[in-house]
């Protein structure tokens, strides 16, 4: 057999092997077999196309395109590579997103080499999100998770990579490594739930999609969420009450107090105003009363004046007619207030008085002296008062003197002294005045003597008391 035929057979053999492996998703094995196939025959278009397909299945899209382009180079007509290339270019932007994923992967390799594991993880997550079948990205991400201790996340990535390529050496080795690590930590409690949740001593890690959630493990305290909620509510109520008491209530009290103060001020103003009004009204009332009293006085005075006029006219008429006794006329005339009369009335009064009063004074004075000497002081007083009223200075004040003496006899010394004093002041030089003065002097002497006797008596009493006290001391 020609060696070319043998080479073709070998190439086909390895192509078939690669095909079998590709069918069971043994991508790494398929790549090896197919590359071997192409080593025997580089123009094995089928092998090359399948190799491209395997590369595409692993997420190495650019490598797949290279193989398909080379395939087209060897067989430009009736080549399924056209279809594959067309499918990739069919969806606009898909190739670009894959290209972006490749760039992110390349960046992640650099970041990981510069101790930027966290950033590399972020970039790889983006790359995987854009290109989920990218095996290398899953593997690198798993490596980074292992490096950062996120074994659950690493396991998840490796599972995905394993599904895409079941015999990838890196995937299998990393999975073995994780298993070894898990076995080397027997104290850790492992609890796998349906969602792949693992409980650790202090954290709970679980995965949702491509995201890994790590949260602190719930403690007994936190698991009692009802009690916790109740306590929170109680604390909140207490804090609210404290805020109310210390912050809001004083402000409210101040506001109320201010209102009250304003009301008090307002009421005080009103009270002051009303008091002022009351005072003004009182003053006005007093004025009215005073005016009323004045009016009453004026009225009384008017009545008195009228009465006086009538009496004067009446007495004048009787005096002319001589149809009334002097005593009766005198009684009437004594009722008259001479000062209230006008000029004409006064003139008329004086005329009557000048006619009537002298003779009546004489009669009454004589009667009064007799009554005085008889000891009938009351009657004497009555007569003398009439005399003095008619003529105060009758007989140079002797009538007034006799009146004072009558008061003195009756024991009404004060009234007597008033008359005496009047005589002394108004009738100086007259005999009556001198007698009045003597009477007053006599009273002063009596008073001095009485006071002196009173003082001597008190001194003697004091001396007697002192002597008595000394005797008592001697006896004791």
């Amino acid at each position: 057999m020609e060696y070319t035929t043998k080479l073709m057979y070998q190439s086909n053999y390895w192509y078939n092997d690669g095909l079998k492996k590709a069918n069971i998703r043994d991508m790494s094995g398929a790549v090896t077999s197919l590359r071997r196939s192409l080593q025997y025959n580089r123009e094995n278009v089928a092998a090359r196309n399948l190799l491209g397909l395997v590369y595409y299945g692993r997420g190495d899209v650019v490598e797949a395109l290279v193989e398909w382009i080379l395939s087209k180079n060897f067989q430009s007509e009736d080549n399924i590579a056209d279809y594959y290339i067309g499918r990739i270019q069919e969806v606009p932007g898909e190739l670009e997103s894959i290209n972006q994923a490749v760039k992110l992967f390349n960046q992640s390799i650099e970041l990981a080499g510069q101790n930027g594991e966290d950033l590399a993880i972020i970039q790889l997550k983006k790359a995987i999100a854009a290109h989920p079948s990218y095996v290398k990205a899953h593997q690198l991400l798993a490596l980074l998770y292992i490096q950062t201790g996120q074994f659950s996340a690493a396991r998840k990535e490796l599972r995905t990579a394993h599904k895409l390529d079941t015999t990838d050496e890196i995937t299998l080795r990393y999975m073995h490594e994780i298993t070894q690590i898990r076995k080397s930590r027997p104290s850790r409690a492992r609890d796998r739930g349906k969602g792949g949740e693992e409980k650790q001593e202090q954290t709970v890690t679980y995965n949702i999609g491509n995201e890994t959630i790590i949260q602190p493990a719930s403690s007994v305290f936190k698991e009692n969420s009802g009690l916790h909620t109740f306590l929170n509510i109680a604390v909140g109520v207490l804090v609210g009450a404290a805020v109310m008491w210390f912050l809001i209530m004083p402000a409210v009290s101040v506001g109320r107090q201010k209102k009250l103060n304003e009301q008090v001020v307002s009421f005080s103003d009103r009270i002051a105003t009303q008091e002022a009004q009351i005072s003004a009204l009182k003053t006005e009332l007093d004025d009215y009363r005073a005016n009323s009293e004045e009016s009453e006085d004026l009225k009384a005075q008017s009545a008195s004046t009228q009465e006086s006029y009538e009496i004067v006219l009446e007495v004048a008429r009787h005096l002319s007619a001589e149809d009334m006794g002097d005593k009766e006329m005198m009684e009437q005339m004594l009722k008259v207030s001479p000062d209230s009369l006008g000029k004409t009335g006064r003139q008329r009064y004086d005329e009557v008085a000048d006619t009537l009063f002298p003779r009546m004074c004489e009669k009454l004075y004589k009667t009064a002296r007799e009554e005085y000497e008889a000891g009938d002081y009351d009657e004497a007083l009555s007569s003398l008062e009439k005399v003095v009223k008619m003529d105060e200075g009758y007989q140079d004040g002797n009538a007034l003197l006799l009146l004072a003496q009558t008061f003195e006899k009756k024991g009404e010394q004060d009234k007597a002294n008033i008359r005496y004093q009047k005589l002394v002041e108004k009738y100086k030089g007259k005999e009556a005045s001198q007698k009045a003065q003597k009477a007053l002097d006599g009273q002063n002497e009596k008073k001095d003597t009485k006071d002196k006797d009173g003082r001597d008596g008190q001194d003697n009493q004091d001396d007697q008391d002192d002597e008595g006290g000394q005797d008592d001391n001697k006896d004791s």
Binding site: Y3, T4, L7, Q10, L38, Q39, Y40, N41, R42, E43, D60, V62, E63, L65, V66, I69, L70, N73, L95, E96, I98, N99, V102, K103, F105, N106, I109, A112, G113, K136, Q139, L140, L143, I146, Q147, I170, R173, Y174, E177, Q180
Partner: protein
């Protein structure tokens, strides 16, 4: 235990779309036929 640095070295940057042309030209397409031909020529 994995050696992170060593493992990281195994990850080579992937080809980007812009590198397709270069990769196609650089692809080694030598197969057994070429090798045998060389061997025959060498023996000649």
């Amino acid at each position: 235990m994995l050696d992170f640095a060593e493992e990281l070295k195994k990850f080579q940057p992937s080809l980007e779309v812009e590198d397709i042309e270069g990769a196609v030209y650089q692809e080694d397409l030598t197969d057994m036929t070429d090798i045998l031909r060389e061997m025959i020529e060498q023996t000649k």
